[in-house]
Point group: C2
Chain length 383, copies 2
């Protein structure tokens, strides 16, 4: 259940002293091959952190030998010095591994606008490399946590090959990725071009469909590394299916650990004219603070749902909108439906279904409620 589940990977996670808490904060994942194909998806935020700029170039040729990740500092909005620090981190780790720094991706997460304490990172690299091992996946997943309360890992075992993954992220989760670092590994035999297609397909229906708070981060990175160590050639379809399974599990874990959340909310849009329309409507609901507060209060306030739907340019006739919450059709033809007091919101999961009656497409976006604890976490601490 970790990035070292597939053959050909070692990992480590240690305490470099970047976090005031003294918890582990530096992780490394190494692909020992024989293949070292890699694919990546990055944040679409135009203000991107130095490690994102670095890693875009590093993965540009479809090859990565290793990934170093730190929590305790995002190294975003840190100017030329920040980029020099990412470059230096890559060189320190590459030298210790005996690889080229150009084959090493760097990921950072934490507060924006502060320089990393490079003396601590430099001092920690020898220990980081010495701890590398096939049992190191759990430690790596621990070391990338920030406001996460639990590490997130997943794996999918297939006949002779497998996919593993880890993720961090608890807020700033939004389409096009957000405060999210993800490393997925596989020992399948696959070429680099296919790998990129597989990752795009997997993220588009998983990480791109979670939206905890509509806030998009400067550091989001999803990496997929393929070692080929299983010796098993795998079709694009089979690999896409397995990688999607791992990404879906990680995405679900991210929402379940979203900052302060009391409810995980699946917003399913049905009978849309297009998948794009379904996503637009689902995201408008997922980002509506009034709706999210109502769910926190166990209130199936469907008026806030239809009001959010009404702000979109999706194809639908307002008079035809139907809304169900946890199986009770509280809104029928944009009017009062079944008694809202029949809705049971006592559980963690909430299922909202909106029927647009405009076609046959569907999409689901996961979000969470807006709670006192979300406000507390994001007002009391700089993150």
């Amino acid at each position: 259940m970790s990035v070292t589940a597939p053959q050909g990977f070692r990992a480590a996670g240690i305490t470099a002293g970047l976090k005031p808490s003294g918890k582990s904060d530096l992780a490394l994942v190494v692909n020992d091959g024989p293949a070292r194909h890699a694919a990546a998806v990055f944040t679409s935020n135009r203000v991107e952190a130095a490690p994102v700029t670095w890693s875009r170039v590093a993965v540009g040729d479809g090859r990565l030998d290793a990934v170093v990740l730190n929590s305790g500092g995002a190294n975003a909005c840190t100017g030329a010095q920040g980029f020099a620090d990412t470059h230096r981190t890559a060189e320190l780790v590459a030298d210790a591994l005996g690889i080229s720094s150009g084959d090493l991706a760097v990921c950072s997460t934490g507060l924006i606008g502060e320089l990393l304490p490079m003396d601590k990172i430099e001092a920690a690299v020898p220990q980081l490399v010495s701890q590398l091992g096939q049992a190191g996946g759990d430690a790596a997943a621990q070391a990338i946590m920030t406001t996460d309360t639990v590490p997130k890992q997943a794996a999918a075992a297939r006949d002779g090959w497998s996919v593993g993954g880890m993720a961090k992220g608890a807020g700033m989760l939004a389409p096009a990725l957000a405060t999210m670092l993800v490393v997925v590994t596989t020992d399948a035999v696959v070429d680099a071009a296919t790998l990129q297609d597989v990752l795009r397909a997997a993220t588009s229906t998983t990480f791109d469909r979670i939206d905890s708070d509509g806030c998009q981060s400067t550091n989001d990175t999803v990496l997929l590394l393929a070692s080929g160590a299983s010796g098993v050639p795998v079709s694009r379809e089979a690999l896409t299916e397995a990688v999607t399974e791992v990404c879906a599990s990680l995405a679900r874990q991210l929402i379940a650990d979203a900052e302060g959340a009391k409810h995980d909310i699946a917003i399913e849009i049905r009978t849309a004219a297009s998948e794009s329309d379904a996503l637009t409507v689902a995201r408008a609901i997922a980002r509506n603070n009034l709706f999210k507060c109502a769910i926190f209060g166990d209130d199936p306030n469907w008026g806030r749902i239809v009001a959010a739907v009404g702000t979109t340019d999706a194809v639908f006739e307002p008079q035809q909108l139907d809304v169900s919450v946890n199986g009770v059709q509280v809104c029928r033809a944009c009017g009062v439906g079944d008694d809202r007091s029949l809705v049971d919101l006592s559980g963690r999961e909430v299922h909202v279904v909106v029927d647009l009656h405009a076609g046959s497409e569907t999409a689901t976006v996961w979000t969470n409620d807006l709670t006192h604890d979300y406000v507390h976490e994001n007002s009391a601490y700089s993150t």
Copy 2:
């Protein structure tokens, strides 16, 4: 300082029993002429309440004789019965006033998805009409409150003529209007076509530039009524200036009373390539929950500001972004600027300035912080 400040207007506000609290909930504003020109701006939400549908038609010919407003129920998503109830309300009031129901606008605010208790409205109409008077402006402003903690009124006196206004709204404030009912009156002599231009110009730089929570309502209505009772012909420019002054005051009062807010935040975008770009960037910041939580925590977390700017498609080079908070330039060239601890956030007003270095246009959007009290108000009560 009310809708009855200009000559030619009477108003009233009474308790019809629509609110469980027993507070006043039914208001009436009558234009006694000699002119009865009217202009209106409505919500752009496609799910519009029955009274919005009604009032669009009523004001379509540029004439309104009166406006009846209720709190205690939005009459939105109430289907054919809801529209019939709005029609019936208009007829009851029109009959009592001896006017045509087609010259009467109806505004409603409160919970979505519930039918109005028409028996209570019918029973209250005689009293409502009997209370009409030039001193009734304050009572009308009281009767349209929902979660507002104070009534909102404004007036602008000019040489021989004046403008007055009242507003309600405390959440669901967003561009293109939101949970906001506004009636503005003037005794200036002006034609109906000019009146519509004046109202569009005034709302575009006032109500359209407040954004408390990004949530757009189904009921927003802004009405401008002109009695001509002063006998003073007024130029378009002079009337626009005075109506804008009243609208700006009401908009500022709405933000100051936004649900649970501890800080009022002016987000000023400078050196933008276009006014549209400046507005896009300002709204992206105004809707960023992480930023709004940080301000609640008195934390000048500029990383969340630049991350929000980076999600837009405005013209700018990320490396050139400058950000000041209350006069301290905390971010210079998208990197660390002056010491963030120098920022004083102890006051109610916060002033954020973002320089895009892409042109010479500017725009300011007002918002507020995201607080425990906002979550509490919007989770504990159906509104």
